[in-house]
């Protein structure tokens, strides 16, 4: 590594400036062909098709019935659950993101020092993330049930239910998500913390900064790239929430926990069977997601300057 590192940049630069040889390009393409085929057939083509579907009448059973733009988009926006699902998805996203990032960072600070005990802690925080979201949702479906839950007697005495009211259902789901993902965000935060040079903390300490001051004015600012990455990941994941609500709350009670992706699934395959409207809603979600992520990245970048 030490021998090759100084030699590499110049040689790479020479190679970059030199005319790429035909042979090299040919072999490059041969090795990249499987990737190109998959990306073209299973990503680019469906992406084009979903745009076409969004402007066509496209029932589930009969297929393409010709263009009808912009009917699908007006139908999607006028859907009786559209506003409710958007509001609910945003609300869920804000709660889940704030909690996951705060807890992820807190847990990372807790287990930051390397010791046998901390390694054990990290492993136990991380185990749930190996489970699938569907398995985790099924697990909590039983854990929250009034019959099988070990918490049932306590809950009954307090007169509350886990999934009975809209707010209880929302927070029960958030707890499931925190359980499943907090370890994942802890690892990302640990990576960020490790990349802060130790001498910065050293300097803060010799200047007599308290722990809280160090955290606020040294750790947090230097952690900004990690915070940007985790925020984008968490917001994207939460906006596209599906399994946890589909399995755990089934959209209830009283259709209060329907997310946007669940609405897409309902329109496409449950009852309405209209792929055109579902495609239109998918295109709207895609556009919103691209916009939101661009805004987030810009916000983090402008703060930096």
């Amino acid at each position: 590594m030490n021998v090759s590192a100084p030699a590499r940049p110049p040689s790479a630069a020479v190679r970059g400036r030199a005319r790429p040889s035909r042979r090299q390009a040919l072999f490059g393409w041969i090795y990249a062909t499987p990737t190109a085929v998959f990306v073209a057939a299973l990503f680019v083509l469906p992406l084009l098709l979903v745009v076409k579907m969004s402007v066509s009448r496209w029932p589930l059973l009969t297929g393409d019935q010709g263009l009808n733009a912009p009917d699908n988009f007006t139908k999607a926006v006028d859907h009786r659950f559209f506003t409710d699902s958007v509001v609910f998805t945003v609300k869920y996203t804000v709660i889940a993101t704030v909690l996951l990032l705060a807890l992820g960072l807190g847990m990372a600070l807790l287990v930051q020092e390397s010791s046998r005990w901390n390694n054990l802690l990290r492993a136990s925080f991380l185990v749930p993330s190996a489970l699938g979201l569907a398995s985790a949702s099924l697990l909590f479906y039983v854990l929250y049930s009034p019959y099988a839950s070990p918490l049932a007697p306590v809950v009954e005495r307090l007169g509350i239910t886990f999934l009975g009211s809209p707010n209880a259902a929302l927070f029960s789901t958030v707890f499931l998500i925190v359980w499943r993902y907090a370890g994942f965000y802890m690892v990302l935060m640990l990576v960020g913390l490790q990349s802060i040079p130790a001498d910065v903390f050293e300097a803060a300490r010799s200047d007599g900064a308290s722990r809280w001051q160090t955290f606020r004015s040294v750790t947090l600012p230097l952690l900004r790239p990690t915070l940007a990455l985790t925020t984008v990941l968490c917001v994207t994941g939460s906006l596209l929430a599906f399994e946890q609500f589909y399995i755990l709350t089934k959209g209830g009670p009283d259709n209060s926990t329907i997310t946007v992706v669940q609405l897409i699934y309902m329109i496409a395959f449950q009852g309405q069977n209209d792929l055109g409207v579902a495609a239109a809603l998918s295109v709207i979600v895609l556009a919103a997601l691209v916009l939101i992520n661009a805004l987030q990245l810009r916000a983090f970048r402008s703060e930096e300057n």
């Binding site: 990249a32 990737t35 998959f38 019959y147 490790q194």
Partner: protein, 304 residues
């Protein structure tokens, strides 16, 4: 959580090495009486948090074999709930086989494609290289549902409706951004001198890849395979949309449908057994390959 393997070293090489995690407080690790007294609240608190994370898993495993009204295990401890699960519709073996088939095919395809693709992106210059790489990463930006609806139509068109192969192809595509990226940085971490020496000795680029580079990027391959397996084994939405036939359902779908089969009464015991069967391979793989698992998360974080 030791950072010592080659792929992450590549990512570190550009920036600084991660700071060695030394104990920051003097005396905090000493096993003096004062040290123990000072650390006890910390141990109690963190231990309690760990219990919160482990409790649901342990509880499900225990509850699945414990007596419970309304299940197939009313009195005494035993595997009654697993018997229910075994005889559910096409039988749990069928669903296990379906899930195993989808997972292994996804792992094999992901490994093959990302190995070749990572090699191409790391070692060759060809027209369209950057565009193809960016397109591959762009898969991450597109919502699952946005792609699954047209994929449902497309797979019907080519006769892959209701097909486990179709599901595996789709899941492989969703794995490509992570796996191509990870294999690319794995190859870039291997000194070029290694394969150039092999070529001077008369190896073709393929022999150099197979004989020299594959052993060098093995940690990356393990991480890619592990993540592909976990994603495919656990995936719910792709089979939900692409599979209609109850004979071809994967395990997560079958366990989810298992609830409320008998006149709307949920068999919680059988659901617990299903969760245990679903979770067991994941937890075992996690414990065996913990280091590779963590590295997968880290490589993503390091390159942002």
């Amino acid at each position: 959580m030791t950072v010592d393997s080659s792929p992450t070293r590549a990512a570190d090489a550009g920036s600084r090495r991660p700071a060695e995690r030394a104990p920051t407080r003097p005396g905090s690790r000493g096993l003096t009486i004062a040290g123990v007294a000072y650390r006890t609240p910390y141990w109690v608190f963190t231990g309690a948090v760990a219990v919160v994370f482990l409790f649901p898993l342990v509880w499900t495993a225990v509850a699945s074999v414990s007596p419970q009204a309304g299940t197939n295990q009313v009195t005494g401890w035993g595997f009654g709930n697993y018997t229910t699960l075994a005889h559910y519709q096409a039988g749990v073996w069928r669903y296990l086989a379906n899930s195993a088939f989808v997972s292994l095919l996804t792992v094999a395809l992901t490994l093959l494609i990302s190995l070749l693709g990572g090699y191409a992106f790391a070692r060759f210059r060809f027209p369209g290289r950057n565009i193809l790489f960016l397109l591959t990463l762009a898969i991450l930006m597109v919502p699952y549902a946005t792609l699954l609806i047209p994929l449902y139509v497309l797979l019907n068109e080519v006769g892959l409706q209701n097909s486990l192969v179709g599901v595996a192809l789709v899941l492989t595509m969703f794995q490509l951004p992570f796996s191509t990226f990870l294999m690319r940085i794995s190859f870039e971490a291997v000194p070029r001198e290694l394969d150039e020496a092999a070529k001077v000795d008369g190896c073709s680029s393929f022999t150099a890849l197979w004989r020299v580079l594959v052993p060098a990027v093995k940690p990356g391959l393990i991480t890619v395979g592990l993540f592909a397996f976990l994603a495919a084994w656990n995936d719910f939405m792709a089979p939900l949309i692409l599979i209609n036939d109850s004979e071809r359902m994967t395990l997560p779908l079958a366990v989810s449908n298992l609830r409320g089969q008998v006149q709307g009464v949920v068999d919680y015991g059988a659901t617990e057994a299903g969760v245990v069967v679903l979770a067991l391979p994941c937890v075992v793989l996690f414990l065996l390959l913990q280091r590779h698992y963590v590295r997968g998360f880290m490589s993503g974080a390091l390159k942002g």
